[in-house]
Symmetry: D2
Subunit: 350 residues, 4 copies
């Protein structure tokens, strides 16, 4: 089979690096163009020492360098706004696009403006963008040229939440409390004092309060895909860990005894979602290095008003299922390949 | 001034080690007896390489070795049940005791039996035990011979919660959701596969569900000291960090704008509790190595029923304010010293 | 193509876990038997939470359970001595074997006895064992039924050393000084106090002095494959890192300006060995998650006796090129596959 | 006793932070002035969240703000060159100075220029500077107004080396090989990509080759204080650890059986240097949080030329004995206090 040429724009950040690693091992895609905002002219190996020859000798292009005609697919791993412009160019040139930024995750430009504090650069493209939560949007993804790859936190929250919302077993009269924890790679590769090893190591803190940008994304897609209006109280934390994300969702509802079964049924055919057995709780270590989401449930007592209390916990590798892994999964769907092609099922242990 | 001789029983675990370090630098206490469950006969330096001479040459006694007459104070850092027996002996010999185990934290033997799954070995001593949350029990601590040193999680939760409960601004119709995160030292020094470096590093998981033992302790003392009946949904996590504990308390209530002021007022004279300014959130790194508890508040929107949503976050070093530091603080109170004597106010940074 | 059935004995330690992950993604091998010393009867998922279904449901066999006839290849990841017995059984049953233990790494039973302090259980098999340093033994590996997979430290040392020894540019009148550093996973998965997170994190120390077992292995194979008699001063250290190994080799010799070229030439066709450019030093992060060995050189001044001083530094992932990755590489060679089949070339970054 | 007012210039880097923590707990010194290069105008608490009130409310002064007359002692924790200017001003104003930079560590301006690549800003002050290796320079330190605080690596190397050199048991015909490893805090608090958590965690690499600046310092003072001409081959590494430094010194010499005794005798009265017993090797964890240096020895075989091989390993906390702790120790000596005043003897474990 002829390999499909792909471009990665924003190749030298952490999500770009992970895309390169996955795509170079992919049986059908070929990395033929690497764009980088500020590193143009250097070789890939100079900024990513983990890449082996011959890929390491490939030279980085300017972020706005023209894309060759034989490139069929573009991954944009650029900051928001910059991504929108790159996406517009790529679409205009007839390429398919998976955008890892936030630029096309919202259906309305107004929501985007509220969450990100800037006007959308290309609102005319929003209508054709498909929100790429692979397990729930496979048919739409297969039919579009523009996939908006979900945020890491929303992925970790929507996967456990959607089946429960659809089954109408979750109490949504109050905001749903989501206490999430992320490894430091989620904060990116730009040098800042607060991200130095000396500051992160042995340090744990909440951030992004009172309302993190991903709260809008969670609410929009929990509501749309869960078919129930939902609001969230979302509190993210950063911890001394490179990869990994764990979201603890403190739910109330009814028929708690059926929730595990509901989730298991929803994901029975999903190779990248695993609903754990009774008594087993997920760990980020159980998914690190894999494209999987592990989900565990713990049942508490009933509340005073008779509702059941259920703690639902999900884990992903923020750079895989939370970013570049799901991006490749979506690219697989766009080109008709099996969703698992080129993606790791098992975690790296230890 | 004549130094006060103290014994530490359970000297070679992490809380024992921290007691030794603090007490050897304390101006009024002198470590004259070290008891260790399984290491009797070895020198302290052989099991705690960080201890300098001459203390390192001191030999460990059997846990049940008799205590010399000139010992006035005993710290018991033993497993529960074993602690109760050691406490009974020490009290019988006329010593004052600070017990770091859970054995005397509950007022009723029945609560203890429910939380710990064993019958209490010395229920007759419960009445004289004082729950040693230093900032709220100073007078009682000064007057007793037996202080039950609080658990790490309860300390991190009760300090922010009590003033708010007393002010009756917290909604307690539903269980209070506490999402807590602890460094691995909280799990102790006994070798287990799950505590190996290779398993903990890059790993984050919840544990102790559906109901961790500390939930009983939180409820009992939040109710008693907060003067309001409280129930909790408590979800603890372990993360790759040696020291440090962060509790995220997802509250609802009213008059949220006054909460920070309420807390600042409550702790205006408390050297070890700091209520952070608007816009500042605590980090475990800000308290690691100090006996302090840092508290931050973030205000969300009002809920649909008009109640305010407030995220209260507290951080402690689990081995200091969460264990051995508070134990020394309590010992200071028992002997009439300033509460801060021999205790670090500032964190070690980085 | 018909998949080749393989057995892994010692499936639940760290090298076993890594073998499973690699082999389950391998296009030609199929994991059909999992033996585990002490976990027999449990499912794989119970002891390795990172493994996805259906492999996770596979049940662990006793370490000495009989192997089915259709198994062609056995990986033994057992403690030394136990491994020798399992190897003997597997060979007797006509299987090919890659042994990850130390049992067949020495050509003489006497050397083994000296290094490991026990008599060899099957000295009669030593003659047929091939030392599996893949890059230097490919033809022998392809022709044998028993590969002794090299130790992690020796692999990291022999790869840079052999070409230099063969070129006779290294001064060997004094012992060669090797200062090596390993991540904690190299110490295995058996629970010991010294391997707890609380003891390893923020801790760095040397161990295994005065003479670590791997010193014998390095000397024997540096001499045999480097064609020069060599003795080593080998000082290993353990550091707070899960995976990764870096060996700093403090050499003296002549014609230092040619050394980089000698190494580049020696490994020009070796996909898993990379000799870095002038001015670039390797990092464990550059190889973690890959089967690669990165080698860097730094030239110092000439010594007083006119000899050149060259610091040669090599990095591997101790569980990949240092253990399970090289084991798969050797299995590829034994069955005539390309050496890179099923093995990662790029590191996982970050 | 009247407290002695001190100024800290460069208060917001890691060594400045550690000075503040130590000095605020010191019984005789009072932190009355905090200078910061780029943070002037902010409060200390804004840049160092671990500092408690009231010190946290103290406002940072510009680095060149005038010092009040009542300040007797100045610590300069500024970059080299900037430090020299601040030192000159402070000396001119009649203050005593402990300089933590490299500016006054060399006796000749030419050596400084060679090691640091810039001309010395105040060569006229070199003659009055005393190299502050506390254990060997106590009398000189007590008599000077300007102490050049040693570098971290040189401290860790000189303490074990000097007694052996003085005893003339070390072979110095070849350069002495020093393989050193440092935690990331040694690289400072300035944001750089290579120091991000995501790059340092799980990463180990050598740096500073072919000749790190500290090599000149080691050679100059090993020669001067050891009374033997010495050259070094010095290879430093950085590892995923916040604090801690371990130097492995690969020595050859004679009468190896007496070395431990020589060291024990040399440091019999040194509270901050501990020579470990036979069979015990030091760990960075054994000194982290203390001002101690731990030294271990491992004896190898004799070399082919009959010389003994001895591996000498020393550990310090790079921010304490390697920087701010030794600075306070020196200040104690300058003012006639006991060297241990206000300094931690025991490590923080874990």
């Amino acid at each position: 089979m002829q390999l499909i040429n792909v471009a990665i724009l924003g190749a030298t950040g952490y999500t770009g690096a992970e895309l390169i690693r996955l795509l170079d091992a992919h049986p059908y895609f070929h990395v033929s163009h690497l764009g980088a905002h500020s590193q143009a002219g250097r070789t890939l190996g100079e900024v990513l020492p983990g890449i082996q020859e011959p890929l390491a000798r490939q030279r980085l292009q300017a972020a706005d360098a023209p894309l060759a005609d034989d490139i069929e697919l573009v991954f944009t791993a650029l900051p928001h706004t910059a991504a929108a412009n790159a996406v517009a160019s790529a679409l205009a040139a007839g390429k398919k696009v998976v955008d890892l930024s936030a630029d096309f995750r919202h259906q309305q430009a107004a929501t985007y403006a509220e969450a990100y504090g800037v006007a959308h650069a290309h609102p005319e493209l929003l209508a054709q963008a498909v929100y790429g939560l692979s397990e729930w949007q496979a048919a739409h993804i297969a039919a579009t040229s523009l996939v908006a790859n979900p945020g890491c936190y929303p992925t970790s929250v929507l996967l456990p939440l959607i089946p429960l919302l659809r089954a109408a077993v979750v109490d949504t009269t109050q905001r749903i409390i989501i206490d999430a924890k992320s490894g430091a790679s989620g904060a990116g590769r730009t040098p800042k004092t607060g991200l130095l090893y000396g500051e992160i190591n042995e340090g744990l803190s909440a951030y992004g309060l009172p309302r993190h940008r991903h709260a809008w994304e969670m609410e929009e897609w929990a509501t749309a895909l869960g078919k129930t209006a939902v609001e969230v109280r979302f509190v993210p934390h950063i911890l001394p860990m490179t990869r990994g994300m764990l979201s603890t969702i403190h739910l109330r509802g009814h028929d708690a005894g059926q929730w595990r079964g509901l989730l298991q049924q929803a994901y029975a055919d999903a190779p990248f979602v695993r609903v754990l057995d009774e008594g087993v709780l997920p760990s980020t270590k159980g998914v690190a290095g894999s494209n999987r989401c592990d989900i565990g449930l713990a049942y508490g007592a009933s509340g005073r008003d008779g509702l059941d209390e259920v703690t639902v916990i999900s884990c992903i590798d923020n750079l895989l299922k939370g970013a570049s892994g799901q991006a490749v999964q979506n690219a697989n769907l766009m080109f008709g390949f099996d969703a698992t092609t080129g993606l790791p099922l098992h975690a790296q242990w230890p």
